[in-house]
Amino acid sequence: MENSFRLRRSLLYVPGNMPSMLQNIPIFASDAVMIDLEDAVPYSEKDAARTLVHSFLSTYQDRNKEIFVRINSLKTDWWQQDLQAILPALPDGVRLPEADSPEFVEHLDTVLTEFEEELGIEIGHFKILPSIETAEGVINCIKTARSSNRLIGLAFGAEDYTASLEIERTKTGEELFAARTRVVWACKSAGIQAIDTIFSDVSDMEALRHETALIKTLGFSGKSLVNPRQIEVVHEVFAPKQEEIDYALQVIEAIQKAREMGTGVISLNGKMVDAPVVKRAVKILKTAQAHGLIDMHLDEEVIYGHK
């Protein structure tokens, strides 16, 4: 599993058959883009989109963000042609729709290895981000999260998920709570990132802000987006607040003092500070670092003390 700490707060969908969007990829401020060959491309244009995406990626050499391509589901006849067209242009990975069970990911993993051998690139170069977007997918996601070393996370997809449950998706999202929580469990236990679903009402920024705050609380580290206008709100919500950073710094200072005194627990402003609190503080500081908000060196000793 991927251990490095990489910010993936915003993963923006870009329709694969639309040059005006594709060629703006370099200037979008999202952490990643997901070029879509699936739902955004009509059946009759699958061939055109593949060729266009390959052509674009071949000219986009100085990449300034992660590039995923959402291929068509392994249940269709198109996904192999998708891979054949786009992998030679070296995207960072593949977003896999309808990953209803670990077998889909395992199958894709094998095929990606074959392509890597053929292209003469490092085995494991192509990452996988499976979509958990059906009732079956949610039930199996605990295993799916451990199905390949290529996984960077699991991406929950609420539109298809609510369709599979034959229910409406609401703006407040009560109907998604159990599924979201299960996806987060699966990801955290496997050491990968949990990516939340899209929010489709591009005009309602307040509801987007509210939903992003909610999913951050639940444990998601990022969100799929449908419009570049949504990027800023999501980044704002995920940025650690100054008071969180200040408190985290106090926690680190306190635990260092505690260790000097030969203990692993100390009181800070009347609250207990011990290992789990330190871990959370370190996570906040690492996130702050990745946002460029602080500049400090965090070593293992700070987190865990001397052996």
């Binding site: 040059p19 060629q23 061939d47 055109a48 266009l52 052509s55 674009f56 071949s58 000219t59």
Partner: protein
Amino acid sequence: MEIVRKAQAGTMQSSDLMVFLEPAPQLRVEIDSTVKKQFEHLIRRQVETVLERFSITNGFIRVSDRGALDYAIAARLETGLFRACADQGELS
């Protein structure tokens, strides 16, 4: 490859183009563009490069451009050729 049937590719969105292809005894390329005055020669050059790559020696190719960049011109023409040609095999 040889153009054996009518085909088209692309869209009318901005930054895109439409390519119309049909069989013809000679090779003829007609270009219409929202930026024709400034860029017709560059669009034509890009079209000819792709046609050479696929060894197309005859056919009527009409381009209706809405300010597409080179990568899009190449991609749409390739798609059009694949749709219009008998040989549906691998890209060379």
